[in-house]
Symmetry: C2
Subunit: 386 residues, 2 copies
């Protein structure tokens, strides 16, 4: 397999973007990434598009074809494929694009992620988001993603593994980082008590425990073409990309709060990258819900260390374990298909030393985790500079 | 890139399968393919799932995770990804799986395609099928796939390029072949006058010009593992796999009846395979509509030869240019995500010499064409035995 580098990144602002359609967003992000890479449309050999639910959100399937067309790439007949893995679609698309380039089939590929979630009412959008769960055995009975996350939180509290305040810290960190990122959906800082006192989505989770419904698109350009890599500013290497799955329904798992897919994919990604977890300078976790963010820390560092990291406030960009420096899904936003791609955009900015205010000094390795449903699909990616 | 072989195939019957859910169908096809390959679950390194619109048909996204779970592969944490490219999802998934194995990342992969279309009323299903067109610029204004195909037919007749009878031949051939295939949706033979006299879907196209709404699933096992290849019965080589795109909307194209994506992808697939089109023993074309089937012959052989092939009835399994020996989309059925995978199943049966009554003698190469929308995505695949 050939070495593959990220040579360009681009993103739209995330948020409730009433005035922009899916094709506007995708084209904007893609064009920015191509411009950032300093290449032309003719250099692009294929397009991979991550999208979770455009069929339900805007009655549009065949998304990759739509984007290739809107971006003017259909004229050239460029191959274009949509990848879907629930809210892990972005990470999965990056995996596919990485393999396509590593295989030698394509030299340079654009990987974009996009979701347009605000064209339907929020209650309808939440129902659609539930499509990443098991429609027949979970959502049919009224379960939502938030309610599953809430059940997990309740169980962990009941078993004495954590207190309400512990997972409430996660969105506080994300909002702090989000406030320093100009493409964030939310740019306000919040306090622990804001999280605790906000209105409930699914008890004990409040609106500040849950990532928002966002519109947005992000794109990256990856390549194995030596000339393009050398002429790009600070290429970032895709060191490893690993996917794992778990039972789709929570009730099939031996424990409702074990994230086995993440455990397996992150272990493999670190092994493939030949680095220990201590070498990871920045973590981008899938904090769709505060409790799920904390669970990922627990899977990675063990219960005790994870709690210490949270309670000692070590997750900020200028502390020992910078986590979700982008603002995470909570503050930067969660346009499902775009989320995993934006994680790679953030990592690239950090590894280039171009993350502005929230720059983590001397970052060499970033571990990304993009998740589908409540842990049924996990994509772990290590990006690095040497 | 490593050589990749098909070592196992499986399919459900296609049809209106009221008593089977999407997960039943996918699991049945996958299990058959694994059994046919003579391997165990533990041998499978990844799962690629093709599906076009389960989000709209059955409120379920995250399809690949669902299938991995239902098939008992989540226990092992096997990576599972859904590929979508409209009704070319199957071909695109095969492309992705092929690259993943050719790259060296995975040794053995199951590629499945599935669609459950009959859980919603036909008018709703037709609207969902339209999701592969441009929702904003075509379907919003009332256009359906059938109406676009009808416009193309009208235009070609108006320009004097063909007569009504010419494209009516295509479903007659498909039904003849379908009658010899036990997994077909329709097993009845039809006559030219049946096509002409049936009720209209979109004038001049009648119900016999249009592929049905089907349920079904198909799966294949591909591998680069020498031991598994050698122990499998008649491995079939994936000689080449090429994708191309065109403008999504017909009104953006210079001609509404040029299938540029197919022209490009088939040319490239034959070039990569280093064979001329005369070397192709069997064609599996995407005859979603009779007129579209004929257009593909015209793109491949030129107008004059294509007309001769049709008028001289040369497309049957025992004639000079066997086409859609499976029964095609028209008679074997068109469960969108499964269609492209079933084409590979049919080709494998033919290349193994196990296609029964409809066996094409001494077939060495098969060219498959799986199409998304009306020609916006084209996947051309060459399978062969040496």
């Amino acid at each position: 397999m050939r070495d593959v580098y990220i040579i360009g990144v681009g993103t739209t602002k995330f948020g409730e973007l009433w005035d922009k359609s899916l094709r506007d967003l995708a084209t904007e992000a893609g064009l920015k990434a191509i411009t950032d890479a300093g290449i032309y449309s003719e250099d692009v050999n294929a397009l991979y598009g991550a999208n979770t639910s455009a069929g339900q959100f805007i009655d549009q399937e065949h998304i990759a074809s739509l984007i290739a067309d809107a971006a003017g790439l259909s004229e050239l007949g460029i191959p274009s494929i949509r990848i879907e893995a629930g809210s892990a679609s972005g990470g999965a698309a990056l995996h596919e694009a990485y393999l396509a380039v590593a295989s030698g089939k394509y030299d340079t590929v654009v990987v974009g992620g996009v979701e347009k979630m605000t064209d339907v009412p929020p209650e309808e959008a939440n129902k659609i988001v539930g499509g990443s769960l098991d429609a027949e055995w979970e959502t049919f009975f009224g379960v939502t993603e938030a309610s599953l996350a809430a059940m997990i939180a309740k169980r962990l509290e009941y078993e004495g593994k954590m207190k309400r305040e512990d997972y409430a810290h996660i969105p506080v960190v994300s909002h702090k980082h989000g406030s320093m990122n100009e493409t964030s959906h939310f740019r306000n800082s919040i306090k622990l008590e804001d999280v605790l006192k906000a209105s409930y989505v699914a008890q004990p989770l409040t609106i500040f425990d849950c990532a928002p419904l966002s519109d947005g698109a992000s794109a990256i350009v990856i390549s194995s073409n030596r000339q393009l890599i050398n002429s790009s500013e600070n290429p970032v290497k895709i060191v490893s990309s690993e996917i794992s799955t778990d039972y789709l329904s929570l009730h099939d798992r031996t424990s409702i709060y074990s994230l086995n897919a993440f455990k397996r994919s992150s272990k493999k990604a670190l092994e493939s990258a030949k680095i220990s977890k201590e070498k990871v300078d920045i973590l981008e976790l899938h904090d769709s819900y505060s409790i799920i963010g904390l669970l990922q820390l627990m899977e990675l560092y063990g219960e005790k260390e994870a709690m210490n990291l949270v309670r000692n406030e070590e997750l900020y960009w200028d502390k020992s374990r910078p986590t979700n420096t982008s603002g995470g899904l909570k503050a930067h936003g969660n346009p499902l298909g775009a989320t995993g791609i934006y994680q790679a955009v953030e990592a690239t900015l950090q590894l280039r030393g171009k993350a502005g205010q929230r720059q983590v000094k001397g970052a060499k390795y970033v571990l990304l985790h993009n998740m589908g449903g409540i842990g049924a699909t996990s994509v772990s990616t290590v990006l690095g500079v040497e």
